[in-house]
Symmetry: C2
Subunit: 190 residues, 2 copies
DNA sequence: TGTACATCAGTGAACGCGCGTTCACTGATGTAC
DNA sequence: TGTACATCAGTGAACGCGCGTTCACTGATGTAC
């Protein structure tokens, strides 16, 4: 059953994609490798042809997932048409669509506190993603000094992550929407 | 080995206290009942004399822990001496001491994303804690309408939770301190 | 107040289960001649 | 270009382990008379 290099790479991507979805939906600890591999259309035994351990998959999933959100955020700013890039980013990040998507939201939101308890590699990757996201946001403040732009970006990103995390945690959809709406408004207008 | 009612209640409190510390340090999933009971000075078999299941302990720990942070936050505003109550709350919540304390920080920070994936009871309790914290903060804006005060409180609380969560997640202590400092400054001054 | 008995907090071993990981095996692919 | 062989992605069963939970038992406490 040996596969071509292209197929092997494609399988690896499929596992990472399934992992990103399952981790977001259930968390890292609550996602078993057997379920995860089944979601990728494989059996669990094949896992170790692609990854040394679950921890390594977590780190790689974070790397790929955060690369994705960085790209999406960058694109949101480019498509701002009319609004400022910062506004477009905030609207995108805190939209009910994005935050409500159990399998699609930002990994820092879906896994934040779990990553804080995780191993060093995953934390380093997540930290790198946080900083790159902050840089994308800082670029939207060209009229500020680099330091001020960075400070404001880190503040705004932290606020967005906190709001999205709480919006996902509270069971009441109205409260969830209120948290997102308030944070959008205060970041953009105030 | 039957114990008096007072002793039994004290033991139960000790288990919840140990759970609060262990959950904050390692997360919920990563904390086993045997370790937790050992931390409380007991053996695992006694657990079910006090709690129906681990899930019920999680819910009760959240209830007690959030009651604690609400009280501490209220007290911080009362002891504001000079500064406004809001400033005192922000300084307290985002102090490196509070956030750096692996076993003592706010449960919404330490367990946020894990609770979002948890069972309904724990989410309801956490949501209640979030709203009570928001009310304590809203009280610090007596010159605003109730709605504006609530909106601003929810925004500020979300920002604090996000900042504290990221500060705990990133491995670099300098970046961690920068996140906390920026968020303190933007919430208070801007 | 003193005695006999029921209660039940806590112990420590055991249970079944699902986890991450390993392994012998299969068979299509890529490589060497 | 055709043939023989080594490679290795993927399968499916098995492994040891630690988890949440259960249970028989202990013995100090609270209660009934």
């Amino acid at each position: 059953m040996k596969k071509s290099k292209a197929e092997t790479a494609e399988t690896r991507r499929r596992i990472v994609k399934a992992a990103a979805a399952e981790f977001r939906r259930n968390g890292i600890h609550a996602t078993g490798l057997a379920d995860l591999m089944a979601a990728a259309g494989l059996t669990q035994g094949g896992f170790y042809r692609h990854f040394r351990s679950k921890d390594h998959l977590v780190a790689e999933t974070c790397a790929v997932g955060l690369e994705g959100i960085v790209a999406v955020t960058d694109a949101a700013a480019d498509d701002a048409d009319g609004r400022g890039g910062f506004e477009a980013i905030v609207e995108r990040y805190l939209s009910p669509d994005h935050c409500g998507d159990q399998a699609g939201c930002c990994l820092l939101v879906a896994l934040g506190s779990e990553l804080a308890h995780g191993d060093e590699e995953a934390r380093a990757v997540a930290s790198e993603g946080f900083q790159r996201l902050a840089e994308v946001i800082a670029k939207q403040f060209p009229h500020m000094t680099a330091e001020t732009a960075r400070a404001r970006a880190i503040f705004a990103l932290s606020a967005m992550i906190g709001a999205a995390t709480m919006a996902r945690m509270v069971p009441d959809p109205d409260l969830s929407a209120e948290i997102l709406r308030n944070t959008r408004e205060y970041l953009i207008k105030g």
